[in-house]
């Protein structure tokens, strides 16, 4: 169990660091969704199933949709280039 905990915690930190080093915005969103999924497993390990369900529905589902829509509407314009 402790190995799983460490795996998830290190995964969280790796995700958070990696989100800053992508050139395009789409990978950032996917990394954010991965982060949310791992966090929701951590809530289960911490005996908070309410948080796990809410995080999976809100943090992963709705947040990801919002981010995707935001970059979709920003792509329409000239000079987007997904600047870092």
């Amino acid at each position: 169990m402790i190995a799983l905990e460490y795996l998830l915690l290190i995964g969280l930190i790796v995700c958070a660091v990696a989100a800053n080093f992508t050139r395009n915005l789409l990978p950032t969103i996917l990394i954010y969704a991965t982060f949310g999924t791992m966090l929701s497993v951590i809530w289960l390990l911490l005996k908070a199933p309410d948080l796990a369900i809410t995080e999976a529905a809100v943090g992963v589902g709705i947040d990801t949709i919002l981010f995707l829509l935001a970059i979709r509407s920003m792509r329409h314009f000239v000079g987007t280039g997904d600047e870092k």
Binding site: D50, T54, I62, L66, L69
Partner: protein
């Protein structure tokens, strides 16, 4: 009777026709010289030369990294001295938690203790949170709505083009999969919504799932399908109605609890679906509110209209 000046200004400001202080800005607009400004800008901000600016930038970067590192070390040192993780005598081990765990079910009626806390014991807090959601949706609508003041002609053209593209490429596979998935998602969302007092979940999770179902419906079947049962009018009625229902229930709980009056809503048998007094209606209200908010986020980010 003459209306005061500040009222006229406020009226103009709320109409969005002009900024709060229009006169001096407009004056400066006319008298400025574009060429001079351009050259002043190219020479860099302030008195620093280009190389000095770069040195300052590097210095700022180093200072920022260093302060982040120091902050991290201080916080890690603090964490090392915190009470052990998972110990029984941690900070939350106090009479508040004891009361919530040992008497929560008798006093409020739900077997899910977290629901007890967020909807009844700390209901005022959660009501504020619902208002935050409402305000968030309102702010998004203000910022992104497609209307005469927000949108230029080019934006409109781009939007129309992407709409036409979406309609042309309407995906058959997505439509069929939506038909298969929709009942399951709706059932799951309603289950989580209505069983908030018995099992994990509740208004927020169930409402987001229902909102996600609406979003999937729009993607699979097109906007017209959603508008046939969830138009502007129904959206506003459901959203405001749910918030008002929530407010009334919370007011009732606070009034009864603060004055020590008997609660007329029966608590029922703990563990059955029709139990826990006001928690089930509050969960439904919160779920509707959240579903509406999520759907509004989606439509205003995507199309700029409901």
């Amino acid at each position: 009777m003459k209306t005061p000046v500040w009222y006229q200004k406020l009226l103009r400001w709320t109409e969005g026709d002009s900024p709060v202080l229009p006169e001096p800005a407009a004056h400066r607009e006319q008298t400025r010289e574009p060429a001079a400004e351009e050259s002043a800008y190219e020479s860099g901000p302030g008195l620093l030369s280009a190389s000095a600016g770069r040195v300052r930038n590097v210095l700022l970067r180093v200072i920022t990294i260093a302060s982040c590192a120091v902050f991290l070390l201080i916080m890690l040192a603090t964490v090392a001295y915190l009470p052990r993780f998972g110990d029984a005598d941690n900070a939350p081990e106090n009479e508040t938690s004891r009361r919530y765990i040992e008497q929560g079910m008798q006093e409020v009626g739900a077997t899910n203790l977290v629901t007890n806390i967020i909807l009844v014991y700390r209901g005022f807090d959660t009501y504020g949170e619902s208002c935050v959601l409402f305000l968030g949706a309102t702010a998004v609508i203000m910022l992104l709505a497609v209307d005469a003041k927000n949108t230029t002609e080019e934006d409109r053209r781009v939007l129309a083009r992407s709409d036409a593209l979406d309609r042309e490429n309407r995906n058959q596979i997505l439509g069929h999969i939506t038909t298969i998935l929709m009942p399951v998602i709706l059932l799951y969302g309603l289950y989580i919504l209505c069983n908030g007092h018995l099992s994990p979940g509740g208004g927020f999770a169930g409402g987001s799932i229902l909102g996600g179902a609406l979003i999937l419906c729009e993607n699979g079947y097109g906007v017209g399908k959603v508008h046939s049962f969830f138009g502007h009018r129904i959206y506003h009625v459901v959203k405001v109605g749910a918030l008002i229902l929530y407010a009334v229930l919370i007011c009732y709980t606070i009034y009864v609890g603060a004055n020590g009056l008997p609660n007329v809503i029966p608590l029922g048998k703990p563990g059955s679906i029709l139990s826990a007094g006001i928690i089930l209606p509050i969960n439904v209200a919160v779920g509707l509110e959240v579903a509406c908010t999520m759907y509004a986020f989606y439509t205003y980010f995507g199309r700029g209209d409901l």
